[in-house]
């Protein structure tokens, strides 16, 4: 007999109220949650979307976060007494925009932001997965900006001074000297943010984004069985996070080569 035959046979017994062993029941529920009707493909699709959304949101978040952090640091670091240059005049409103952005995004729940984006701003959009990715990216940017800002501020001001004293301009000094060192310092915090982002993609299913939890939800509604789909989804997230943590560790070891003595 094939697995499918056992499944059909034991399931019939269970539906008739007959006695099955613990392992027979376990097998039936497992088969039903993952194998019956090729349901594993739905989880796989969900994982694909989850990873895609995470990647897009991460890119948006890192770019936004860096921009906001650089603007806010540049604004805080300017020295009084050099008059109003065009750069300074521009920096003031930019800084204000950045502060409003971080305040609003960090001050409202992720779920509410998703619902506002999905049901109000992009009401007529059919591509809810991308709307979700955009929302997550904007949300993540606010947190990343604070992480990056912390990294930029933690660096010895002497590094900036040394760069500038050699005749490099502000942007060159940031690009070659300050940001690479700050990046190394903030990598653990950034990894943390990435993990949170990966798991927050599960919220997308409230606006109908077709990610991993959405797949599990669909299966639960068909089979009236919650434990196996939910455990399966939890396990998938756990494995994804563990893989990522391992990759991050490798990157950290590589960046640490200048520390050897």
């Amino acid at each position: 007999m094939q697995w499918a035959d056992y499944y059909a046979q034991w399931k019939t017994i269970m539906q008739g109220g007959g006695d099955v062993t613990f392992w027979q029941e376990f097998f039936v529920k497992f088969y039903q949650a993952f194998i019956e009707a090729d349901r594993w493909k739905q989880y796989l699709n969900g994982v694909g979307t989850t990873l895609l959304v995470t990647a897009i949101a991460l890119c948006i978040g890192v770019v936004l976060g860096m921009l906001v952090a650089v603007v806010r640091t540049a604004y805080d670091q300017q020295r009084p007494g050099q008059g109003l240059t065009p750069g300074r005049v521009l920096l003031w409103p930019l800084n204000l925009v950045c502060r409003v952005y971080t305040t609003v995004i960090r001050g409202t729940p992720m779920m509410v932001q998703l619902m506002i984006m999905g049901f109000v701003i992009f009401k007529s959009s059919r591509n809810l997965t991308m709307v979700g990715a955009l929302t997550l990216g904007i949300n993540s940017g606010a947190y990343v900006s604070e992480i990056v800002r912390g990294g930029l501020m933690s660096l010895d001001p002497g590094q900036m001074e040394a760069g500038r004293s050699l005749g490099l301009n502000y942007i060159q000094t940031m690009r070659f000297i300050v940001i690479p060192q700050a990046f190394k310092a903030i990598l653990p915090a950034l990894g943390n943010e990435f993990i949170i982002l990966l798991k927050d993609t599960s919220l997308l299913n409230v606006i109908g984004g077709k990610e991993l939890v959405y797949a599990a939800n669909g299966i639960m509604n068909r089979t009236w069985e919650q434990m196996f789909p939910l455990m399966g989804v939890a396990l998938i997230y756990l494995v994804l996070v563990m893989i990522f943590t391992w990759l991050q560790g490798r990157l950290e070891r590589r960046l640490r080569q200048s520390d050897r003595r």
């Binding site: 020295r79 009084p80 007494g81 050099q82 008059g83 240059t85 010895d156 002497g158 590094q159 001074e161 040394a162 760069g163 500038r164 004293s165 050699l166 005749g167 490099l168 301009n169 060159q172 070659f176 000297i177 690479p180 060192q181 190394k184 080569q257 200048s258 520390d259 050897r260 003595r261």
Partner: protein, 240 residues
């Protein structure tokens, strides 16, 4: 070479430099000494605008650098600076530390900058450290690298901000030796230091600063042998 007119600098309510006027001629080795908090470092840092003066003007080779329109990056390329805490870039090899600025400011191509770095490293006997990272060097080695990093930009003037104050006593000598050689080659130097021996031996002029003023100045022999101001006499009696 540098002309300082009525320079004042305050941090908040605290007046650090009080109306200083001074002129530094080409080839001079000006040594600035004085007690902590007297404004020596601030004075030096104003010269390349790492500190923005509150009032007054600074002119470098005929160009007023305190003018908001002055290209401060172009001016700083002609002034090297050496810091108390070296400020080498820990994420780069020694070679990269030296070549970064000349290449990025388009003073040299990468190949020429590499050759310059090799030549400069040979000069301070640290050729074999080209591919090491700063964390692998001793304090004295770091400071010698910091000096040649500044020299790679071919500056017309070198500013030294307490270059030996963060070093183990054993390593002070090797750094002063490099500075002496530099002085003998005719480099214009402004040095803030507590090394009275260096001031006496290498300096062409000694400035004594206290509470934001240049209280007294003279050529080193006269300065150390016959100080005039009571505050100078008191300071020298403690440090010599």
């Amino acid at each position: 070479m540098i002309d300082v007119q009525n320079l004042s600098k305050s941090f908040g309510d605290h007046l650090v430099l009080d109306n200083i006027s001074e002129h530094i001629h080409p080839g001079e080795k000006v040594v600035v000494i004085g007690p902590s908090g007297s404004g020596k470092s601030t004075f030096l840092r104003c010269l390349n605008l790492l500190e923005t003066p509150t009032s007054g003007s600074i002119t470098f080779e005929g160009k007023e650098i305190t003018d908001p329109k002055a290209d401060i990056n172009a001016i700083r390329r002609q002034m090297g600076m050496v810091f108390q805490h070296f400020n080498l870039f820990p994420n780069m090899t020694i070679r990269k530390n030296i070549t970064l600025a000349p290449v990025q400011t388009k003073l040299m191509g990468q190949a020429e900058a590499d050759d310059t770095a090799t030549a400069l490293l040979r000069r301070v006997n640290l050729e074999e450290k080209a591919d090491a990272y700063p964390a692998q060097l001793s304090g004295g080695q770091k400071q010698r690298i910091a000096i040649v990093r500044a020299l790679a930009m071919k500056p017309k003037l070198m500013l030294f901000d307490e270059p030996t104050s963060a070093l183990d006593p054993e390593m002070v000598g090797e750094v002063l030796e490099v500075m002496k050689e530099l002085a003998q080659e005719g480099m214009t130097m402004v040095v803030v230091t507590h090394e009275m021996g260096f001031a006496r031996e290498v300096g062409t002029r000694v400035l004594f600063m206290d509470e934001g003023h240049i209280l007294e100045q003279d050529e080193p022999r006269a300065f150390f042998d016959r100080p005039k101001e009571p505050r100078t006499i008191e300071f020298l009696s403690k440090v010599l």
